[in-house]
């Protein structure tokens, strides 16, 4: 026997109570795992944002267009090192429920700008620039639909139509690309803007937004002011912001996920903390006499404190780790169906590590009061011998 066995035996002396407490903790950490993973997925854009990248959108909303003519005018602003433009395609494959993240871009400049996020093979790079009807598809999207380079794929848009009234475009997959950094999402399709612009029936020469890299972070403010000043009082006034702020605003369309996570997890934790804490206090109080006996045998107050804390931490881990397992299972199950909306949804190791840390903190908080009470317990009082 050792202290760990003693702790385990104490914990499971009332099996039903221990199991109910573990289930409570399991639920709390399952909620934490799932919501934290969603929050991470929603904010992945912010995580991958680099400080020297800015985004220029319509001042009214980023859903409003900008003229393509802005592209050259912004490119000429002092301090702009690289620039590209994006146009939201609103695509789907075969059926509207097969939603695709697809943009029309300026191929050469887009690849230059995103070279730090993605890996492009020389063949894919050349083909995407060369082929007017070619699309470049990210590795995850290729995998999801079982596509391969050279495939002809009909892609429809729920926004745009062709001049012949058709909503479908026939594209050739000319290449694929993979992520250079973990946060970079490859569940995306890019098509050439020129082909898209020529064939669509309306919205000609308009784009969704501009994305640019400045010569240095120090130049950001000056470039921002120059761009927004240049288009002030025009029919298409602009707002220039950091890529991080833009991605955050994009994610905010789905609500303030971080706040929801904090509120839900916080409420669940406080509730379960009180339940488990109260139960731990009762559990230790029931054992007053036994703690007195242990002290009589020579167990020091410090050792008793460590044993009670060890019990509450063990309880938190026994409940919390399966909770993380449940979260992993849930995320794995829903990941494929939500890939288009939250492509980077995953229970990342750092979230799991944070959860384990939280379990230990949870165990310490719930066990601290009963542990201190046990440590300070007077033997004579505990044994009812006064």
């Amino acid at each position: 026997m050792n202290d760990l066995i003693l702790i385990r035996k104490n914990l499971f002396r009332r099996k039903l109570r221990a199991i109910l407490m573990m289930v409570s903790i399991l639920i709390a950490f399952a909620i934490f795992g799932v919501l934290a993973s969603f929050e991470r997925a929603f904010n992945a854009g912010q995580d991958r944002a680099t400080p020297d990248r800015l985004v220029v959108t319509n001042k009214i909303s980023f859903t409003q267009p900008l003229p393509i003519s802005y592209y050259n005018r912004v490119a000429a602003v002092d301090g702009v090192a690289q620039i590209t433009h994006f146009s939201w395609f609103g695509g789907y494959y075969q059926e509207p429920r097969n939603f695709l993240v697809a943009f029309a871009v300026d191929p050469e400049n887009w690849m230059k700008l995103r070279d730090s996020d993605f890996v492009f093979s020389p063949e894919a790079r050349a083909a995407f620039i060369r082929e007017r009807t070619g699309v470049l598809v990210g590795a995850r999207m290729m995998e999801k639909w079982g596509w391969k380079v050279g495939d002809h794929i009909p892609i429809s848009s729920n926004i745009w139509s062709q001049k012949n009234r058709s909503h479908a475009w026939d594209f050739i997959i000319v290449g694929s690309f993979s992520a250079r950094i973990p946060q970079a999402d490859t569940n995306v399709m890019l098509m050439g803007y020129d082909y898209f612009n020529e064939t669509r029936s309306f919205g000609k020469d308009l784009i969704s937004w501009l994305s640019l890299r400045t010569t240095s972070v120090a130049a950001n403010e000056r470039v921002t002011n120059a761009i927004d000043g240049m288009f002030a009082n025009s029919p298409y006034e602009t707002t220039t912001d950091s890529e991080k702020a833009f991605n955050k605003a994009f994610a905010a369309q789905l609500g303030n996920i971080a706040l929801i996570v904090e509120l839900v997890v916080g409420a669940a934790f406080v509730t379960i903390l009180m339940i488990v804490g109260n139960t731990m206090v009762m559990t230790v109080r029931e054992r007053t006499r036994e703690i007195g006996v242990l002290k009589t045998l020579g167990f020091s107050g410090g050792r008793i404190l460590r044993m009670v804390l060890g019990e509450s931490i063990l309880l938190a881990l026994l409940g919390g780790l399966p909770g993380l397992g449940v979260a992993l299972l849930l995320i794995t199950r829903v990941r494929d169906s939500l890939m288009s909306f939250v492509p980077t949804l995953s229970l990342y190791p750092d979230i799991a590590a944070a959860a384990v840390g939280l379990m230990v903190v949870f165990g310490i908080i719930t066990g601290l009061v009963p542990a201190l009470n046990a440590m300070r317990l007077n033997i004579v009082t505990a044994l009812g011998r006064s």
């Binding site: 003693l6 035996k9 006499r289 006996v293 045998l297 167990f299 033997i379």
Partner: protein, 233 residues
């Protein structure tokens, strides 16, 4: 270091008071007592005479207000709480009226508890546990839980737990108070063997004159003072 001629217990001018609300109750006021090594003393007396308090003081689980208590060569009134814990672990074996075994541990695990405070290896701990349970005649009840044993068997496990770390002094608080006569006699016989054959000094608080017969001598405590009676061994 305790020499063979030194007393196991030496109490000089011991004072102990309790405060209950605004009232102060004096339990001992200048108590003196010397118990030699290897003695087996029964402490008797009416309720409230201070028997249990004396046992608590001798075991270092309660503090005196004045006077000196020297047990096994150590001045208890000069030790800190942590020093007292360590001292108890190596010098004192407690036996309670209601056994006070851990219900979720087997007999062997209950007996092993004091050894967790030592540096003994698992194998040596197991040997000592087997020996202690053998001494009390429970070698075949190693894996039994307290609820699976009779009161007498539980008290014998408690005795094994008290002697497993080989303490010099056993303090027994009404060890047979919860047992029938026959079982009580078995338990008292074990205590007698521990005293006679293994040289353990035993101080036993009891209300039972028949139990006191097993001791070498009996001390009657009344209003904080002793009246000694010699008994036939």
């Amino acid at each position: 270091m305790l020499s063979p001629t030194d007393p196991m217990i030496d109490i000089v001018d011991l004072c102990k008071r309790f405060t209950k609300g605004k009232e102060t109750i004096t339990i001992f006021d200048g108590l003196n007592l010397a118990i030699p090594r290897g003695d087996f003393v029964a402490v008797m007396g009416p309720s409230g005479s201070g028997k249990t308090t004396l046992l608590n003081l001798l075991g270092g689980i309660d503090r005196s207000d004045a006077g000196g208590i020297e047990v096994a060569g150590e001045r208890l009134d000069r030790l800190s709480e942590s020093e007292l814990s360590r001292w108890r672990a190596s010098h004192i074996g407690f036996i309670f009226q209601f056994y006070n075994l851990m219900p979720m541990l087997t007999a062997a695990q209950n007996v092993e508890l004091p050894l967790l405070l030592t540096r003994l290896g698992r194998k040596e701990r197991r040997q000592r546990v087997e020996t202690a349970l053998g001494v009390v005649g429970l070698a075949d009840r190693v894996k039994h839980y307290p609820k699976e044993m009779s009161g007498g068997q539980q008290q014998r496990v408690a005795i094994a737990r008290a002697i497993v770390s080989d303490p010099a002094l056993l303090l027994c608080d009404e060890p047979t108070g919860d047992l029938d006569r026959a079982t009580a006699d078995e338990v008292l016989s074990i205590l007698q063997v521990l005293n006679r054959d293994l040289g353990k000094t035993i101080v036993m608080v009891t209300h039972d004159p028949a139990a006191a017969q097993y001791a070498k001598r009996s001390l009657h405590l009344d209003k904080g003072h002793f009246i000694e009676k010699e008994l036939a061994a």
